[in-house]
C-alpha cells in the first residue's frame, strides 16, 4: 500500500506469557480499542514500526506529487488543470498531516526527510512508474487513489490516535481524487476511438502495479501478524487486494475497457473475481530501486530540498531577527 512491507522487528508473534506486564497492559488497551496517545507508554518496537509506517506513508504522498505534477502544465483544459492542481496540493497536505503524526513519536521531520533522501526510508512502489499520457492521470486517480482509499478507510480505526486522526482527514478528501480520475477515464472512453485506446493503454500499464501496491501475498508477509495484533494493520494484503479487484472490475466494464488479465473472471462459488498471478519479482525489483523512475523521483526530491534550503534558512533568519528586535 502507501506503506508496503513495513518491518516490525518481530520474527514471530509472542504469546501473552512472553510479554512483560507493561506490554500485556498495553496489548489489553489495544484489544479494548482504547487509542494509544503519543505520551502513553508503548513498546519500543511499536514506536519504531509506526515511525517507519507513517513516514513511508507520508513520503508516498510527497513523492506521489511528481508523476501527476508532470501533467499540470499540459492538462487538456483550464478546468482539468485547476482540478489537478487542487488534487496535487491535497497530496502535499496529506504528506504534512502524516509527518505531523510521525513527529508525535519523537522524531523530527528533517530526520524523516533525510532518511527518504538517503534511501533508508521507502515510499510506495507505484510512484516509480512514468505518466506517459494524459490518460495516466485518469488511471492514477481511479486505480491508485482507489487502492489507497481501500487501505486508508480501515486505518481510520487504527490504534495510534494521531495516525487514526490523520487518516480520517485524508479519507474525507480522497474520494474527490478517485472520482476526478474516473471522470477523466469516462470522458476519454466516451470520446474518439483514439481517446478510448489511450484509456485502455493506461489501464494496461497501471493495473498490475496497482495490485502490487497492497504488498506481497499474506503467506510471505512476515510482519503482518505483529502489525495486526497492534492494530496498525487492519486487513491483510490479500483481503484488501481482493476487495479492490471486486470493486474495480465492474467500473472498467462500465467504461467499456478491460483489465490486462486473461485469467480474470467472476467466481460465483467464492462470490469474488479470480485473477491471474502477480509478478512479484517486479515488485521486489521496484522496491529495491530498479523501477522505471526510482532514480528520477529521488533526484527530484533531493533537488527540491537542496534548492529550497536558502529559502528555509532566510525565513528562519528573518523570524529570529524580528524576535530579537521585539525582545530588545
Amino acid at each position: 500500500m502507501y506503506a508496503q512491507m513495513v518491518d516490525t522487528g518481530a520474527k514471530r508473534l509472542r504469546s501473552l506469557d512472553e510479554l512483560s506486564s507493561e506490554e500485556r497492559e498495553f496489548q489489553a488497551r489495544i484489544d479494548a480499542d482504547i487509542k494509544i496517545e503519543p505520551k502513553d507508554w508503548m513498546p519500543e518496537a511499536y514506536r519504531k514500526t509506526l515511525i517507519r509506517q507513517i513516514s513511508q506513508h507520508a513520503h508516498s504522498e510527497i513523492v506521489g506529487m511528481l508523476p501527476e505534477g508532470n501533467w499540470i502544465t499540459r492538462a487538456p483544459s483550464l478546468k482539468r488543470k485547476a482540478i489537478l492542481m487542487a488534487k496535487v496540493q491535497d497530496e502535499a497536505g496529506h504528506g504534512l498531516y502524516l509527518y505531523c503524526a510521525a513527529e508525535t513519536l519523537g522524531v523530527s521531520r528533517d530526520e524523516l526527510i533525510a532518511d527518504l533522501h538517503s534511501g533508508k526510508a521507502k515510499y510506495s512502489s507505484i510512484f516509480n512508474y512514468p505518466t506517459l499520457t494524459w490518460a495516466d492521470i485518469g488511471a492514477i486517480g481511479w486505480l491508485v487513489d482507489g487502492a489507497a482509499i481501500m487501505n486508508q478507510i480501515p486505518l481510520c480505526r487504527c490504534s495510534f490516535g494521531p495516525y487514526s486522526r490523520a487518516m480520517i482527514r485524508v479519507c474525507k478528501e480522497e474520494s474527490f481524487h478517485q472520482r476526478q480520475g474516473f471522470d477523466i477515464m469516462m470522458t476519454l472512453c466516451r470520446g474518439s476511438a483514439e481517446q478510448k485506446a489511450m484509456a485502455q493503454d493506461a489501464l494496461n500499464r497501471w493495473w498490475w502495479p496497482s495490485l502490487m501496491m497492497f504488498g506481497p501475498p499474506d503467506a510471505t508477509s512476515v510482519h503482518s501478524a505483529q502489525s495486526a495484533q497492534w492494530k496498525i494493520k487492519m486487513l491483510s494484503n490479500d483481503e484488501l487486494r481482493q476487495r479492490f479487484v471486486d470493486q474495480t472490475v465492474p467500473q472498467a466494464d462500465y467504461l467499456g475497457i478491460s483489465m490486462p488479465d486473461a485469467e480474470l473472471k467472476w467466481n460465483a462459488e467464492r462470490a469474488h473475481y479470480d485473477f491471474g498471478p502477480i509478478d512479484w519479482d517486479e515488485l521486489y525489483s521496484v522496491v529495491k530501486g530498479n523501477g522505471p523512475c526510482n532514480r528520477e523521483r529521488l533526484r527530484a526530491r533531493v533537488e527540491a530540498w537542496e534548492d529550497g534550503a536558502w529559502v528555509r534558512n532566510a525565513a528562519m533568519a528573518h523570524a529570529e531577527k524580528h524576535a530579537a528586535r521585539k525582545a530588545a
Partner: protein, 94 residues
C-alpha cells in the same frame, strides 16, 4: 547553517460558532507564516472561519502517567450528573 523551523499547534473554529478545535500541527519560521501555512494545510475546503497558532513548545500538558490521581476524584462524584436524581413520572419540566 540549517536548523528546522519550529513546530506550531493549529486550532480552527468551524463555521457554526463552536470553540476552536485542535486539528494538527505544522512547521513555520514565525507566527505569521504559521497562520498562512495553516490556511493552506487545514482549511482547503472551508473548514474554518478563524485560526489560532501556538508554539508546540509553549503547551503545558497533564501527565498521562498521573491520569488516576488527576481524574479519579471526579469519577466518584456521580451526583454531579442530573441523572443521579430520579424524578417521578408525574413531575414535568424538570
Amino acid at each position: 547553517m540549517s536548523h528546522e523551523w519550529p513546530l506550531w499547534e493549529i486550532f480552527i473554529r468551524s463555521q457554526h460558532g463552536l470553540a476552536h478545535k485542535h486539528v494538527g500541527s505544522l512547521h513555520a519560521p514565525d507566527a505569521e507564516m504559521a497562520v498562512k501555512n495553516a490556511r493552506d494545510v487545514y482549511t482547503r475546503r472551508n473548514e474554518g472561519v478563524s485560526i489560532w497558532v501556538v508554539k508546540s513548545a509553549d503547551i503545558v500538558a497533564s501527565s498521562p502517567g498521573k491520569k488516576e490521581p488527576m481524574f479519579e476524584p471526579a469519577s466518584s462524584k456521580v451526583y454531579r450528573h442530573p441523572t443521579f436524581f430520579p424524578m417521578p413520572d408525574e413531575v414535568k419540566h424538570i
